[in-house]
Symmetry: C2
Subunit: 450 residues, 2 copies
């Protein structure tokens, strides 16, 4: 079996992890990245894009499969966030744990993580890195020895995907949401974190919100999600809506950062298939960009490559024929498009949860009940957030399971109400000396409500 070569377009988080995986399986890897990346030591572009990252189980699982020590090294660099801290308008802070067993998602700097992964990739002798190289065009069918396979890990505005679109009948959609984002920073206070570092902070204001994630240097990255208007007086806006955050950040800083920092747009992408024959595949944001509200963009991208690796190994252990690659890519595409579509939808839904539902009583009551049940039946009742963030249950299966669970939960709540009503009825009847209601009568009362 001849040596196989793969060209990876995009040296971001997903691209660099993909390089490691292919290298580990013995492929000759060429990684192309359009930005400069001299020596991998803090290239300037690493600070351009942010929205803090939160790495959770799916991300760790992919690192672990590649190399258990890599997972450990990354874990040493993160800040665990065990729950949400809700900031109300009067400054009250309320903690909401992510998981009844104390599991956490983990704040990590994009630049920190990407340096670790590029470093890791450079340890492989069969990885060649090419910075300052922009992907323009590719003849997917050329089949030259230096590119048996092209992997597009070139992000939401992927050019590889654009080429794919010209080659296959690609069902594709891109949708912008009406809100954009702007980043600010909250400096340390007296040498320490200004607010709890073990929480993801949220200032939910129904139609918009502010969030903050901790950084290693004890600062916070603060992000405003809203329909951003140009010329808006940011300080006035913060004073009216996030007065405690304004105090901690400083009016001057808020004003200048709102002026200087770019306003990003938020977009999600779905497409199917992900592949062209045995020649090309898109992965990560190039395949399924999502809004950042579930903290799953990178985790899903990492899981992509773990899934692809599993499928490739199940198809052929040593060396791969063209036909085996074709089968592996087909299998990958038909399974993964469904899972990615599910998390793209969940991420969109979670925006409403973060900015509004977290202060809704019915939501909190259900969350509490689900948490209790999860504690008693940890394998059978699993809250949605836990399934997404702390397990590797396929995203599409998560949605199915959650829908069934909701149905059962509603039934259980109704039964509990009926039982309570029956007990009250019997007791009142005794006290008043009347005929007690029959079980059937009470049951009828409650089944009518459905």
């Amino acid at each position: 079996m001849p040596e196989r070569n793969v060209v990876i377009i995009g040296g971001g988080l997903v691209g660099s992890l993909t390089a490691c995986y292919f290298a580990k399986r013995g492929w000759q890897v060429d990684l192309y990245e359009k930005r400069p990346g001299k020596q991998f030591c803090l290239p300037t572009w690493l600070s351009i894009r942010s929205i803090n990252l939160a790495i959770s189980e799916r991300g760790f699982s992919a690192l672990r499969r590649l190399d258990p020590t890599l997972e450990k090294r990354v874990k040493a660099l993160v800040i665990p966030m065990h729950g949400r801290m809700i900031h109300s308008l009067d400054g009250t802070q309320t903690s909401q744990a992510y998981d009844v067993f104390g599991k956490a998602i983990n704040s990590v700097g994009r630049s920190t993580l990407i340096r670790v992964l590029l470093d890791e990739a450079s340890q492989y002798k069969n990885v060649r890195m090419h910075f300052n190289h922009e992907f323009q065009q590719a003849d997917f069918d050329a089949g030259r020895a230096d590119s048996d396979l092209i992997v597009g890990a070139d992000g939401a505005y992927s050019r590889v995907r654009q080429r794919l679109m010209a080659k296959v009948m690609l069902n594709y959609s891109q949708t912008y949401i009406e809100h954009g984002y702007c980043e600010f920073s909250m400096p340390p206070r007296n040498g320490d974190f200004a607010i709890s570092p073990s929480h993801l902070h949220i200032w939910p204001r129904q139609s918009f919100m502010l969030i903050a994630l901790p950084n290693q240097d004890k600062s916070f990255t603060v992000t405003l999600f809203d329909q951003l208007k140009t010329g808006q007086d940011a300080v006035e806006f913060f004073r009216a809506n996030f007065p405690d955050a304004l105090d901690l950040m400083g009016a001057d800083k808020v004003a200048s950062e709102y002026m200087v920092n770019p306003k990003g747009s938020l977009m999600y992408v779905k497409c199917t298939p992900y592949t062209y024959k045995n020649r090309a595949v898109v992965i990560g944001d190039a395949a399924h960009a999502m809004v950042p509200f579930y903290g799953q963009g990178m985790n899903c991208g990492f899981e992509d490559i773990e899934e692809l690796d599993k499928i490739m190994l199940s198809v052929a252990r040593d060396g791969m024929s063209d036909d085996q690659i074709l089968r592996a890519l087909d299998t990958y595409s038909s399974k993964r498009t469904k899972d990615a579509s599910a998390i793209v939808d969940l991420a969109l839904d979670n925006y409403v949860e973060m900015r509004a539902k977290v202060i809704d009583y019915a939501y909190l009551a259900r969350k509490h009940l689900e948490g209790l049940l999860h504690r008693v039946f940890p394998k059978h009742i699993i809250p949605l957030y836990t399934m997404v963030s702390f397990t590797s249950i396929p995203y599409a299966a998560v949605i199915g399971r959650w829908q069934r669970q909701s149905l059962w939960l509603h039934r259980a709540v109704r039964t509990a109400f009926a039982a309570a009503a029956f007990a009250v009825g019997v007791a009142s009847a005794r006290v008043l000396g009347l005929r007690a209601p029959s079980l059937v009568e009470v049951a009828r009362l409650f089944t009518k409500r459905s």
Copy 2:
């Protein structure tokens, strides 16, 4: 006010009509078409794409607004089809009129119509045509004197739209349906049409169908819509499903045409917005490609330019400032995206209607009832097909109106049933000497069913 210049990309049906409209309003027009088009006399590319065209009210309206004699000249070239002719498996033919007042849609050859329109455009001194010119790139912001405005009329795979996507936050989706198509021809028989020329012929077979539209030379263009399999024995397939068509087309011809003729795919496109500042707009298939099952693709494209012209004139009668163009394009985009989205959906739904519902009794009963009511209340009850094909009611309004109409129709049918039941009840009660049911009792019986 300086003279305005427009660059139109795409010299197809919509592009050439657009050229006429801008020329009529005094703009300097440059029309670019990638295919050769020497002297407009039967350029070879005109025969490449077909799916026969059916022009109806919206298309005629746009021609009429430009020049009433143009409408007349086109009307002389079409073959009116007053209804569907349904071919059942045993060869029975059943005619279903399109309209109770005898209105018709009109079969016209793509090459015939495009020649008329290119000819028309060439009559304007301020139109320059550039064939063999392919659009590659454009700096929408350049604002050179030779292109105040760029109109992308370059079809479903529009490159202008691709540029637009790089400039604005474009919500975009393209979706392929599972079926493709393949064209055949049915020659004249004894010097005349082999089947009725005043019908659109359909062989509805639930999950697939064959259709035929008449041509001026007394042949028919026959199109198979199905999940086309390669290596399929077309003659066997026709013998099993369309035996009468096979007889009229000839087995040899079917076999060779299935082998030689390309198999097309079917795709629809939605996007919003259609415009970039006051600089660019997409129109026709470039903005809203649709599946061909409502025969509205071209009609909608023609209506696009009529709408744009109306809006431009309402904004400014003589000469236009940049700001006026901006306002006109914004208005056009926000209105037209909704209407186009509606007809894209209707066209998709109509595939099920054509291949399956036309032989469904409930569908036929409703159609009959709607037709009767339309005859009595021609302004108040208008069947869906009539609104789409024989009026200029905006497509989005058509859907709203049709939904309200369906609701009323259901209520009316229920009331009619209730009245009949009441009459039968009273009559039976008399005969049997029992208490007659009250109106309320009968009404209750029927309102429960909803």
